[in-house]
């Protein structure tokens, strides 16, 4: 989910379990969405994207689901590993407009 202030929402997951990270986006006209992973001290890294004409897209160990009715985006990570520990944030874009980024969710993987 999105930040409720200075503290990032945190999701703690046991190693090997599946993780689901949620994002509520704001613009019903947004037509392109991206998930990023940001490890501590590093820049955001592209994970997966999805266009608004799709409901689901799969990558390697990751799946993005888009529900336009409720303006909700989720990132599913299968068989979560310690290396998946990071902040994950979503981004939305409408046509040629600038991209709007969410604040992110911190994923902690418990060994």
């Amino acid at each position: 989910g999105e930040s409720v202030g200075l503290h990032l929402p945190t999701l703690s997951v046991q190693e090997g379990d599946n993780s689901i990270i949620n994002c509520a986006y704001s613009n019903s006209a947004s037509d392109y969405f991206i998930w990023y992973k940001q490890e501590s001290g590093k820049g955001p890294q592209f994970i997966i994207d999805i266009r608004s004409n799709m409901d689901k897209r799969q990558g390697q160990r990751v799946t993005v689901l888009l529900n336009k009715t409720v303006k909700h985006l989720s990132l599913q990570i299968a068989a979560t590993q310690p290396g998946d520990s990071a902040v994950y944030f979503c981004a939305e874009r409408q046509g040629y407009q600038k991209v709007t980024f969410g604040i992110g969710t911190k994923l902690q993987v418990i060994p």
Partner: protein, 115 residues
Amino acid sequence: DVKVTQSSRYLVKRTGEKVFLECVQDMDHENMFWYRQDPGLGLRLIYFSYDVKMKEKGDIPEGYSVSREKKERFSLILESASTNQTSMYLCASSLSLMNSGNTIYFGEGSWLTVV
């Protein structure tokens, strides 16, 4: 793979100093961006450029300027650094504004501390 390189990872500057942050991308992308990232505030767009010598203000341009003399290089300039500009600065690039599906790729970030 897209490579966005920020030459300075960690800088400490004094109040009032002029600061240059350099960014280079190697994928012939048209668009380049400068963001700052602060705890609880997420990524905020400072400036972007969609072509050589072109620039557009983002959400928080005050206290900053930019330069894009070559397609691959986009510089962020703090004319007179202040302590409230202490932050992590992220450069990014994307292929074209004409395709809404173009992903934005980020550099590794530059941590600036102004004392």
